[in-house]
């Protein structure tokens, strides 16, 4: 098989899905570490973002790869979803009880996440790079225009990240199968690590709007 034939076979597509998904998850972990500087304070967060910006060209390359992973993941996901629909026949009584809902809704949660990412780039990413208008990064994130002082924005953010966690719950278990980790000695450690990615990291992201958007005003 040529590399093209491999990557367009059903398993090849799944392998691409798994690898791009895992790489995006690793990025997500680093992204969270950066976000947590918000809890340290304004100077710490602004300093961290400035340091990232100083990397300049390297950041642009990283962003290019991230976008490529997102698009490849989405493209293959849509293609698989479409091919899987084609393989199906209409049924009168099909029971879904053995199919976990996280798997059934993976395409839906993925679509919501994509919309979220698009707004994320149009707001935070764009403002950080081109449209600060004299504000600090910290003020943009916690401001009321596109930041967490805007309750609509915070609620949307919390829902999208919760769905992301749900998406990753299926994603990690599926990737474990696709990459052949299940049934080997690494299965247990992989399963434990995947809980960090589909539960604890999304919870970390959600803690930011919950704290800065809501709790900080009550307390």
């Amino acid at each position: 098989m040529s590399i093209f034939q491999i990557l367009t076979s059903s398993i090849g597509r799944k392998i691409l899905m798994a690898i791009t998904g895992l790489l995006l998850s690793f990025f997500m972990a680093f992204h969270l570490l950066g976000n947590l500087f918000l809890f340290v304070g304004e100077a710490a967060f602004n300093g961290y973002v400035e340091k990232l910006h100083k990397l300049g060209f390297l950041i642009r390359i990283a962003e290019f790869f991230l976008l490529a992973f997102v698009l490849s993941h989405a493209y293959n996901g849509i293609l698989l979803w479409w091919e899987n629909r084609k393989a199906k026949e209409k049924t009168e009584s099909y029971s879904k009880e053995n199919t976990p809902s996280s798997a059934r809704y993976a395409a839906f949660t993925g679509s919501v996440i994509f919309i979220f990412l698009a707004t994320h780039w149009a707001t935070f990413w764009y403002k950080f790079n081109y449209d600060l208008q004299g504000m600090s990064y910290y003020e943009v994130v916690l401001g009321d225009e596109v930041g967490f002082a805007n309750p609509f924005f915070s609620v949307f953010y919390i829902i999208a990240i919760a769905l992301l966690g749900y998406h990753l719950k299926h994603g990690f278990s599926s990737a474990g199968q696709t990459l052949g980790i299940v049934g080997t000695e690494y299965e247990k450690i992989y399963n434990n690590l995947s809980v960090i990615f589909w539960f604890w990291i999304p919870l970390g992201f959600i803690s930011i709007p919950v704290w800065f958007g809501f709790l900080v005003r009550i307390i």
């Binding site: 059903s10 899987n84 393989a87 199906k88 026949e89 209409k90 049924t91 029971s95 053995n98 199919t99």
Partner: protein
């Protein structure tokens, strides 16, 4: 016991099918599900109607002929049993029971509950075999096989190819079937030589037959009458990755 049946009736793959209602009274709860259908068919024949077509052969749960959806589940509600091993005592008096064939684009309806599963045969005939020269039987201990691999291979070989996995899958994927066949030979030294070629050809045939891709939901294993496990799918993926990787690196 009395039961209300709704059965998918379809003359051939060229005609449209629909559900028909039948009522059976005084059914002995200790007869098998297929015997119940035999009784229904006797009744239909006496009434000069067309009997319900369904596949069956050994009625011992080992041949893989039988199988259809009972209330949306392949082989019915009981775990790890084929339809022929299911008894009417698994149902209650006055139950509604809906029967329809295994649904998938790659399984055409032949008639009523009987479907064409030749796509499975084509996956097997593409590479699901070992090319061992026939001759005199060798010494039994000539090829040592460790117990755990022999047991694993045996569990995979238990697949009877009934097609329940495809019917249980939301994507009509044949990954569990293909993975059981690949696993069973990949685990044994006899299958070693053709390992790479086998996984490549079987996956290519599976794709070409129009089965969906695996979403790793586990629905297939949950419904499999032989309890073929998800580890087989992981093993198939592993074999596929290994075969591609060694091909890519060997050539250059």
């Amino acid at each position: 016991m009395n039961i209300n049946l709704k059965i998918w009736r379809q003359k051939s793959n060229k005609t449209e099918g629909k559900l028909h209602k039948y009522r059976l009274e005084n059914v002995d709860p200790n007869i098998s599900f297929l015997e119940m259908l035999d009784i229904l068919n006797n009744k239909l024949i006496k009434e000069q109607q067309d009997p319900v077509a369904f596949d069956h052969d050994c009625r011992e749960g080992i041949c893989g002929s039988c199988g259809f959806m009972i209330n949306g589940r392949p082989h019915g509600p009981q775990k790890a049993t084929t339809v022929c091993q299911l008894h009417m005592r698994s149902f209650n008096d006055e139950d509604d029971i809906l029967l329809e064939p295994f649904r998938a684009k790659s399984f055409g309806v032949i008639k009523d509950l009987s479907v064409d599963r030749q796509s499975f045969d084509r996956i097997i005939s593409s590479a699901g075999f070992v090319s061992v020269n026939t001759g005199e039987a060798g010494e039994a201990n000539q090829i040592p096989i460790d117990k755990s691999n022999a047991d694993e291979a045996f569990l995979s070989a238990a697949c009877i190819g009934c097609g329940a996995c495809v019917a249980a899958c939301k994507n009509s994927s044949a990954m569990l079937f293909t993975s059981a066949k690949v696993s069973h030979l990949a685990l044994l030294p006899q299958g070693e030589k053709e390992k790479k070629e086998r996984v490549n050809k079987m996956v290519a045939t599976m794709d070409a037959e129009g089965f969906g891709a695996c979403t790793n939901t586990g629905a297939c294993s949950a419904e499999c009458p032989k309890e073929i496990g998800q580890t087989n799918i992981a093993r198939l993926n592993r074999e596929f990755i290994k075969a591609q990787a060694s091909n890519l690196f060997e050539k250059k």
